[in-house]
């Protein structure tokens, strides 16, 4: 009996392969986008984890000293019994890219990256000593093909990109620090009863790495952004699935009734339906995860570039298949299918044994239900607002976004119905009256698809506004900030001094850009010294400042801070900030500093040099009327390597490149979401058209031609979509406002002015109408070609 019942149930899909495809594709797309985002996030987090855990396992405590740890400190600690191991770190500039060189001592390291360990066992003289080989990630190795000044390199999995790991002897030679130690790593297990470190090496401070490290924390907001997008796509996809499943249940009502009447127990029937849905969900989920993997693989290089550009976080460009997100994707597909089919199954369970087949499969939304839904939408608005006040800014921002979007989607059907009712009340002639009423009657069936369209369009408008506003602000800011025509970096202090002497008669101004690292508000930050020069006074992108700001700063009596530091540490003008241990200055101004994840302080160069005597004096901005000639002179006459000189134009190009890539992913996800919404619209129209014959037949019988009917259908679709798009524009602007004023501030630490781009709205409107026309085209053609005999059959078979 079960087999027969199952056969009967499945025959529905055989007869309607299009519906089956809708269900599968909808669920697949939803799962794909969601799992793609998860895959990207997982991969990125794995990279941060690898970066933080150089020695395997949890990141270890380190001992550091101002100006570096000495060999004597190291030997003293070892001889006192402390299990410490030296690490020497520094940056190598090779063929224009900056690489992090990490020297470790394999003899005392608490653990070794497995690739190094293995190589060490095979041929230790390859690994130990100044002539040894070093290790780097395969993709980094690929970029270093033929680069001069590097030791022999071997690719090793598990090393984060952009890093070179080598024996400390080799690192010391490459960095020119024969006895250098950046920090001492403490082994997780230490002997008992050791004398305190402070007694053995008083200058050392112990640092416990924060969970996940600075990078993971910085990038959290970025990943939250992606996750939010993934969830949005998933929600849009679920609209499709819900529609398809609901329709299939409605259409099978007579069959279910017959099966029940023939003696199939309700419980078996429900179990069969559930098994059917879960099997379909499993298939769609598996396909979706595969598709998601492909999408993630295509997007990951851009995400990696973004993370590197924005946060300096190195993420490998290669995607690994990780069971965690694959299983997660499947679970989400199953859960989504269960969610989408829940109400339908419930109705099957409640259905009276001999209930009549309903004349209109989709007519299930009464006015009261619409009002309830709208009320729920309003409640979500309120909830979102409340959440944005109560929760931490970023989570609150997303809660506000979610409330706004879903709330608006829920209210949409009521707005549409109300609008149509108004139109109907104004219509006098018969056909328009019928048109208004009939459209209103279609709203429940189309509402899910229209809601999906609303969400997708609002996102397009919102994200478009955000990106364009950001681009406008960013470009202007770059012009201000990059005032110097050339940026030159000396390799040594001596060369720096010679460079200044060389440039003095040749350039309009030489502006030192010297900085020292510090920690502010518990995070790494950089303090810059700058020479008082009109370049700064005229160009620096100040957001707010005291009137005498530049004079105060020039006298070394005040400092400027960047916006992200001011926001994170809640700094206001006039407040004192401890810039370096024991050195505080009042804040005289706040400047915008887009694209920089870290806090930054600017103060007088003389004041900084007095505080930090060994300030590296290497980088300089150069003002010149003929930068090209000066660059030439620097290379040929002074002998500076070309990659030590960067001109304004290439920095700008680079920065804009980073900027564009940052939003590549957003744009790609946006297009995909829009595609999903368009698909939802198409399926909804297809479904409706197949059931509309009973409504259209009487109109046809009154003399409206099939062709005319088709045109009316097409126009109606376009109008519905257009109306939805009109509603989507204010919603999108609200979305953009939240993104710019709440989410950006929380995620990146800067607020951006909002600009509006009406052309984008037109585009959204056009897209919506186009999608609706395309979606309605097939049903219209079908209608126009329906033989009159079938219209007549409606009257013959009237139920």
């Amino acid at each position: 009996m079960i087999r027969t019942a199952l056969g009967a149930l499945l025959s529905h899909w055989r007869r309607r392969p299009g519906q089956l495809a809708t269900l599968l594709i909808g669920l697949m797309l939803a799962t794909a986008l969601f799992s793609a985002v998860q895959a990207i996030n997982t991969e990125a987090r794995a990279s941060y984890g690898r970066a933080a855990a150089l020695f395997g396992g949890a990141p270890l405590d380190s001992l550091r000293a101002e100006g570096g740890v000495t060999l004597a400190d190291y030997a003293a600690l070892r001889r006192a019994g402390w299990r410490v191991s030296p690490v020497l770190e520094g940056d190598l500039r090779v063929t224009g890219q900056s690489l992090r060189l990490i020297g470790i001592d394999p003899l005392t390291a608490p653990a070794l990256p497995s690739a190094i360990g293995a190589a060490l066992t095979r041929a230790p003289t390859d690994i130990l000593g100044t002539g040894a080989m070093a290790f780097t990630a395969p993709q980094t190795l690929a970029t270093l093909e033929g680069a001069a000044g590097l030791p022999p390199l071997r690719a090793a999995e598990g090393i984060p990109p952009g890093r070179i790991i080598a024996d400390i002897a080799l690192a010391a030679r490459l960095l020119g620090q024969p006895s250098g130690i950046t920090r001492l790593v403490l082994a997780p297990e230490q002997p008992s009863n050791l004398p305190p470190i402070a007694e053995i090496a008083p200058g050392l401070t112990r640092e416990t790495p924060e969970a996940g490290g600075d990078i993971a924390r910085l990038t959290d907001s970025f990943h939250l952004n992606l996750t939010a997008f993934g969830l949005l796509s998933f929600a849009v996809g679920l609209f499709i699935v819900h529609g398809a499943i609901g329709l299939a249940f409605e259409q099978r009502r007579p069959m279910l009734r017959s099966l029940r009447a023939l003696g199939v127990p309700l419980r078996s029937l429900i179990a069969l339906l559930l098994a059917e849905i879960m099997t379909l969900a499993l298939i769609a989920g598996a396909l979706g995860v595969t598709l998601g993997y492909l999408v993630a693989g295509a997007l990951l290089p851009d995400v990696a570039a973004t993370l590197r550009g924005l946060y300096g976080a190195e993420v490998s460009g290669g995607l690994q298949f990780r069971p965690a997100w694959a299983l997660g994707g499947l679970a989400v597909a199953l859960g989504g299918a269960a969610l989408a089919s829940g109400s339908s199954l419930w109705r099957v369970a409640q259905m009276p044994l001999l209930s009549a087949a309903q004349p209109r499969a989709w007519a299930r939304a009464s006015g009261a239900a619409l009002r309830r839904q709208a009320l729920a939408g309003a409640a979500l608005f309120a909830l979102g607002l409340l959440a944005s006040l109560a929760l931490p800014s970023l989570t609150g921002g997303f809660a506000l976004l979610a409330g706004l979007l879903i709330g608006a989607a829920l209210i949409l059907p009521m707005l549409l119905t109300a609008g149509l009712a108004l139109g109907q009340s104004r219509a006098k002639a018969g056909l328009p009256q019928w048109l208004w009423a009939d459209t209103r009657q279609q709203v429940p069936g189309l509402s899910l698809a229209l809601m999906a369209l609303l969400l997708a369009l609002a996102t397009t408008v919102g994200v478009g506004t955000m990106v364009s506003s950001f681009r406008l602000t960013f470009t202007g800011w770059l012009d201000q900030r990059l005032a110097s025509e050339l940026y030159v970096t000396a390799r040594t202090e001596e060369e720096g001094a010679a460079l200044r002497a060389f440039l003095a008669p040749r350039a309009d101004a030489v502006l030192p850009i010297w900085s020292a690292p510090t920690r502010l508000n518990g995070r790494a930050a950089e303090v810059y010294g700058f020479a008082d020069h009109p370049t700064y006074r005229d160009n620096w992108p100040i957001l707010s400042g005291l009137p005498e700001m530049w004079d105060q700063v020039a006298r070394g009596e005040a400092a400027l801070v960047n916006e992200q530091l001011a926001r994170r540490a809640d700094l206001t003008l006039g407040q004192n900030l401890e810039i370096l241990p024991g050195w505080s200055l009042p804040i005289a101004g706040i400047y915008s500093d887009y694209g920089n994840p870290e806090g930054q302080v600017m103060t007088s160069l003389t004041a900084l040099a007095a505080q930090v005597p060994n300030l590296p004096r290497l980088r300089h901005g150069v003002r010149s009327n003929s930068p090209a000639a000066l660059r030439e002179a620097l290379i040929s006459d002074f002998g500076l390597p070309p990659d030590a000189i960067t001109d304004q134009a290439s920095i700008k190009a680079f920065s804009l490149g980073v900027f564009e890539r940052t939003f590549t992913v957003t744009a790609a996800l946006n297009v995909l979401t829009l595609g999903v919404a368009g698909f939802a619209l198409l399926t909804a129209f297809l479904t409706l058209s197949s059931m509309r014959l009973p409504q259209l037949a009487p109109v046809w019988a009154q003399g409206i031609t099939r062709r005319r009917l088709g045109q009316i259908e097409l126009a109606r679709s376009a109008a519905l979509a257009g109306f939805t798009a009109l509603l989507a524009i204010p919603l999108g602007l609200a979305l953009a406002w939240v993104l710019l004023k709440v989410v950006n501030v929380a995620a990146f630490g800067w607020e951006l002015p909002m600009f509006v781009f009406p052309l984008q709205w037109l585009l959204a409107l056009g897209l919506a109408v186009l999608a609706a026309l395309l979606a309605a085209w097939i049903p219209m053609r079908r209608l126009a070609r329906t033989p009159p005999a079938r219209f007549l059959q409606v009257f013959a078979h009237e139920r």
């Binding site: 060999l71 004597a72 001889r79 394999p106 003899l107 360990g117 060490l120 041929a123 230790p124 030679r173």
Partner: protein, 348 residues
């Protein structure tokens, strides 16, 4: 992967262990100094490191007795191994140091290992007063010319602190300190102090044990002490109750009989080198330990000196599971003479 295996490989130099003798001691000595016959040893300079030679060690073994007569053995060793000759300040220094410490009881064998690179002060050897150290382990000279030493080391489950004092002069092994190690003529510089009286405290998991006994220092440096066909050695240092000391070794050959050599040292310090025919070491009984079969009982015969003794491990489990693993432990002597000593077996 641990560091130990890495160091093993360092010493084994490129995985040709069988062709290059145990622990790489048979590898070519390119760039390194090679011991030359007739070079006089001078002290205290030669107590210090010889960084132009590839390998070197400061090696102490002690046979100790507790208040209840229980036999204990103690080992303290500092090895030096260079990836290139010479020395340098800081990380460029090509020297690598390795320490081994062990405490053997009839029922337990505790041991530990430390690694360090040269040029940092983490490990090394210094003059006036003499000091050899790696991390917390120390061998400190408390008098002139290595006559008195203070020895400390600790590891998981054990620690010891001993003072050593010796009267007679240092013993130069082989021909005035030039010790031939193969028929091909490979050699090392080698001197010993076999006459230390030792006392101190052992710390075991069960508690502290005061001990007294004898100790033996071996100093050896070379760049290629084994020939490439030699696969390992069996080495004994015996303290006979009549006051005599015997050092003997058999270097096992791949396809030939073992190369034997040794020294008989009278109680007054008079040393007589033994030619390869004058000493034989014959395995008597095997034991299984750490998955290997090792001879833990030997017959040692010196016909010219009317010595024919059997030596038997106090604890057959004295396996040093270190970077390059080997067996090292105290032995009891019976037969024509009685006494105690140390046995070392490598390359099994």
């Amino acid at each position: 992967m641990n560091v130990k295996a890495a160091f093993a490989a360092l010493l084994l130099m490129a995985a040709q262990a069988t062709a290059q003798g145990f622990a790489g001691l048979g590898t070519q000595a390119e760039g390194f100094a090679v011991p030359e016959r007739g070079t006089p040893l001078t002290f205290p300079q030669d107590h210090q490191a010889h960084p132009d030679y590839r390998i070197e060690w400061w090696y102490i073994t002690a046979n100790l007795t507790g208040p209840d007569g229980t036999d204990y053995g103690v080992q303290w060793t500092l090895f030096r191994s260079a990836t290139a000759p010479g020395t340098d300040e800081g990380w460029q220094n090509p020297q690598v140091w390795m320490g081994h410490a062990a405490l053997t009881t009839p029922t337990a064998h505790h041991h530990a290992e430390r690694l360090a690179r040269g040029g940092t002060g983490q490990a090394g050897v210094a003059p006036a007063p003499f000091a050899a150290w790696i991390d917390t382990w120390q061998m400190l000279g408390t008098g002139p010319d290595m006559d008195s030493l203070a020895l400390t080391a600790e590891g998981e489950g054990f620690a010891y602190a001993l003072t050593l004092n010796a009267e007679p002069p240092l013993i130069l092994q082989g021909e005035a300190g030039y010790s031939v190690k193969s028929r091909d003529g490979q050699a090392s510089f080698y001197y010993s102090q076999p006459f230390y009286q030792a006392q101190g405290t052992l710390t075991l998991p069960e508690g502290e044990v005061p001990v007294t006994g004898t100790a033996w220092l071996d100093r050896e440096w070379s760049s290629q002490p084994l020939s490439e066909s030699q696969t390992g050695w069996d080495w004994v240092s015996l303290s006979l109750d009549d006051g005599r000391r015997i050092m003997g070794f058999a270097l096992r050959e791949e396809d030939a009989p073992a190369f034997h050599s040794g020294t008989v040292i009278e109680a007054d310090g008079t040393a007589t080198p033994l030619s390869p025919e004058e000493i034989t070491l014959t395995p008597l009984a095997m034991a299984q330990t750490h998955g290997r079969s090792l001879p833990v009982e030997w017959q040692v015969t010196l016909p010219g000196h009317s010595i024919d003794v059997t030596i038997k491990a106090v604890n057959p489990e004295a396996w040093m599971d270190t970077t390059f693993p080997y067996w090292e432990g105290p032995v009891r002597i019976s037969g024509s003479h009685t006494g105690r000593g140390y046995l070392e077996m490598t390359g099994y």
